[in-house]
């Protein structure tokens, strides 16, 4: 039993790391635009399919798809913000943006289904069935790789946010849009780039997802609920909060999976979501800012 719990814990931490990467983009969009991007998981699977195409057509390592997908998704993100989200009337932006991105998600799913058919696709590598064994706990290599890619990407993201001038402008925009504009930040442009960075994380996340799970066009629905729960528990708009909540929920999920069953494991996300809203609607790591949204 102890070894089973340890196994669950280990798997939970590895999955949680991936959740952190997948949720970070959502936090960014919310931060810069107060927008809940329901289409984020759909973009993840768009990236997964592109990775699949690159991998099967050219026979190269799936990670070699990144030089193509990351800039492409960055540009897509800027375009989505500039051409679509920015056009929404500001008075009901939060709600309308959900509907807008919901429509985008449906459109992506339909396109993926039309191009790739509705059947499952997967990218399986040589290491896909191997694992590292430490003291009776098996750590699958694909999950280890996913974890480290996620950690690395998040580290780069944090470095950009904290160190670079762009990051400072971005954080200023997140904290107080009007004030940022007053001190000379071009908030519109920054918001666009914020979306770009968010979608760029989706490109990386999609490639990682392609490595560890099979996928089909409707796969994104499962992820919408999970990722939304993570960012609410973490506090809307807080990238660090989302990362911590992701690991927390990943571990809870892993432990419940090995002790109870999959239904309860998924249910945990929603239980935490509702508990958070009842106890602390701004999320456990969110500040004043999240309260109003």
């Amino acid at each position: 039993m102890v070894s089973l719990l340890l196994q669950g814990l280990a798997l939970g931490v590895l999955t949680g790391g991936l959740y952190a990467l997948l949720a970070s983009g959502l936090s960014l969009y919310f931060g810069v635009m107060r927008v809940v991007m329901v289409a984020h998981p759909a973009f993840l699977f768009l990236a997964a399919y592109l990775t699949y195409t690159v991998h099967t057509t050219f026979g190269v390592d799936p990670f070699l798809a990144l030089p193509v997908t990351v800039p492409l998704f960055f540009a897509l993100g800027v375009a989505v913000q500039r051409l679509l989200v920015a056009r929404l009337a500001p008075d009901n932006l939060a709600m309308m943006s959900v509907l807008l991105t919901f429509g985008i998600a449906l459109a992506i799913e339909g396109l993926l289904g039309t191009i790739y058919t509705g059947s499952y696709k997967s990218v399986s590598m040589e290491y896909a069935t191997k694992s590292l064994t430490i003291g009776g706990v098996h750590l699958p290599y694909d999950k280890i790789i996913a974890f480290f890619v996620a950690a690395l990407t998040l580290a780069v993201l944090f470095a950009v946010l904290v160190r670079s001038r762009f990051g400072q402008a971005l954080r200023a925009t997140i904290q107080h849009r009007e004030a940022a504009r007053l001190v000379g930040v071009q908030t519109e442009r920054v918001a666009g780039y914020g979306f770009g960075v968010g979608l760029a994380t989706a490109a990386v996340g999609g490639t990682v997802l392609a490595l560890i799970t099979p996928f089909f066009p409707a796969s994104h629905w499962v992820w919408i609920g999970k990722l939304m729960a993570i960012i609410v528990v973490g506090g809307l708009g807080s990238v660090i909060g989302a990362a911590l909540a992701a690991v927390l929920l990943g571990v809870v999920e892993g432990l419940v999976l090995v002790t109870v069953d999959a239904t309860w494991a998924t249910m945990m996300f929603y239980v935490f979501l509702f508990l958070t809203l009842l106890a602390r609607p701004q999320g456990f790591f969110g500040g004043r800012l999240a309260h109003r949204f």
Binding site: Q7, G8, T117, G118, S122, T129, T213, S219
Partner: protein
């Protein structure tokens, strides 16, 4: 208030004036004479998109190959066969409206069934209420036959819970020192997939083989490591998966990662798909699964179907294709015997009676049905032996010996 009353009066008068006319298509009325000369229209709704798209398209191929063959031979009762396909997007709402429109709007002569136990029941309800014969290729779960349908037949060798019968016999008859003592079951939350695994579980449990893990996972599950971890902790002698395709691949991968090495591993559906060996890399060896059809069998029309399928679609036929084709063969035989093919209750009843009493030569062997429409034959058991799919059970159909215990993956 007066105004409301006035409008109510006006509207109800409008309604009354129009109630005089009635539908021209009361079910069971004879078709206009002109229709008798045209093609035989067969209405089919299939999940061509959505969760069940893969098998749905396989069955569509099977139907088309069958129609092509019948038309090449001069048609049904001398009339050309025309298939009308609808996509139900794997949604039971759609499946109902599809059959509804096929029967009442397109006025088809016959309907063929859709895919998946989840869609067969709503579809069969529609067909049944319009008195239409409903031969279906994929509703194998036992619940399908418990709804009191009188014109439903499942055109495959056996219902879900009987798929593993030969394997259960084989395991139970093993000498005591070789016989497995513990078994782990993991099944998709789906009536068909669970039916197969539980059929085997119940038989083995009755024979004293202990169930150490019994997991059910929801359809959206993609990460199988935790389930594999549970199985690994229980160290079972055999592992049985009640699976469709993608989850069988996920389970095999996760079991390897968690270093589970059972003496026997059996999975439903997945391993019978041609993509399976590539999807699990080298791990397919020794994996067992029940199969209702074999590419090497010489049953009526089988080799012709495979050849025609290759010509038409430039690919290999699979079990789904065969299931679709079998539906066609059964209905074709009934139509030829009953000498009628219209949508009237008399004709459809005649067809159903014939199917209930007859025995049919099909690409999956001889088929006969009980009163609720269950087929009365058995599935074969296949295994990957030396990288090839071989039939290992039953004795009289086998192409290779069953390998037990299995090689490590």
């Amino acid at each position: 208030m007066a105004r409301v009353l006035k409008s109510l009066t006006i509207t109800s008068m409008c309604a009354l004036a129009l109630t005089a006319c009635a539908k021209t298509d009361e079910p069971g009325t004879a078709q206009p004479a002109g229709q008798q000369q045209g093609p035989v229209k067969i209405g089919i709704s299939l999940p061509l998109t959505g969760d069940f798209a893969e098998p749905g398209n396989g069955i569509k191929d099977g139907y088309q190959v069958w129609a092509d063959r019948v038309n090449a031979k001069g048609g049904l009762l001398g009339r050309k066969v025309e298939l009308i396909f609808r996509d139900d997007a794997s949604d039971p709402n759609r499946v109902s409206s599809d059959y509804e429109s096929l029967i009442t709007q397109d006025k088809v002569n016959l309907v063929f069934g859709p895919f998946s136990s989840r869609l067969v029941i709503p579809a069969a309800k529609v067909a049944e209420s319009y008195n239409m014969l409903f031969v279906e290729p994929a509703g194998a779960a036992k619940e399908v036959f418990e709804q009191g349908f009188k014109r439903l037949f499942y055109a495959a060798p056996a219902i879900a819970s009987d798929h593993y019968n030969y394997l259960a016999d084989y395991i139970i008859k093993l000498p005591a020192d070789k016989r497995p003592k513990t078994a782990a079951y993991a099944s998709l939350d789906d009536p068909f997939a669970q039916g197969t695994a539980y059929g085997l579980r119940d038989k083995l449990a009755a024979a004293g083989i202990k169930t150490v893990v019994d997991e059910v996972y929801p359809p959206e599950t993609t990460d199988f490591s935790p389930i594999a971890a549970k199985i690994a902790a229980a160290k079972p002698d055999i592992v049985v998966g009640g699976t469709q395709f993608e989850d069988s691949v996920g389970l095999v991968r996760a079991l390897q990662e968690l270093k589970v090495q059972p003496k026997l591993a059996a999975f439903s559906t997945g391993p019978t798909e041609p993509e399976f060996p590539a999807a699990v890399k080298g791990a397919a060896e020794s994996i067992i699964s029940p199969v209702g059809w074999s590419a090497t069998a010489t049953f009526t029309g089988n080799q012709e179907m495979i050849k025609r399928h290759k010509e038409m679609f430039n690919g290999e036929a699979n079990e789904d294709t065969a299931n679709g084709f079998t539906v066609g063969q059964v209905v074709e035989a009934a139509v030829n015997a009953a000498k009628c093919v219209d949508a009237t209750k008399e004709c459809q009843d005649k067809l159903a009676d014939h199917i209930r009493q007859g025995t049919f030569d099909t690409v999956v062997g001889k088929l006969s049905f009980d009163d609720q429409g269950r087929p009365e034959q058995a599935h074969m058991i296949q295994q990957y032996v030396g990288g090839k799919v071989e039939i290992v059970l039953p004795e009289q159909a086998k192409t290779a010996d069953l390998v037990y215990p299995k090689k490590p993956w």
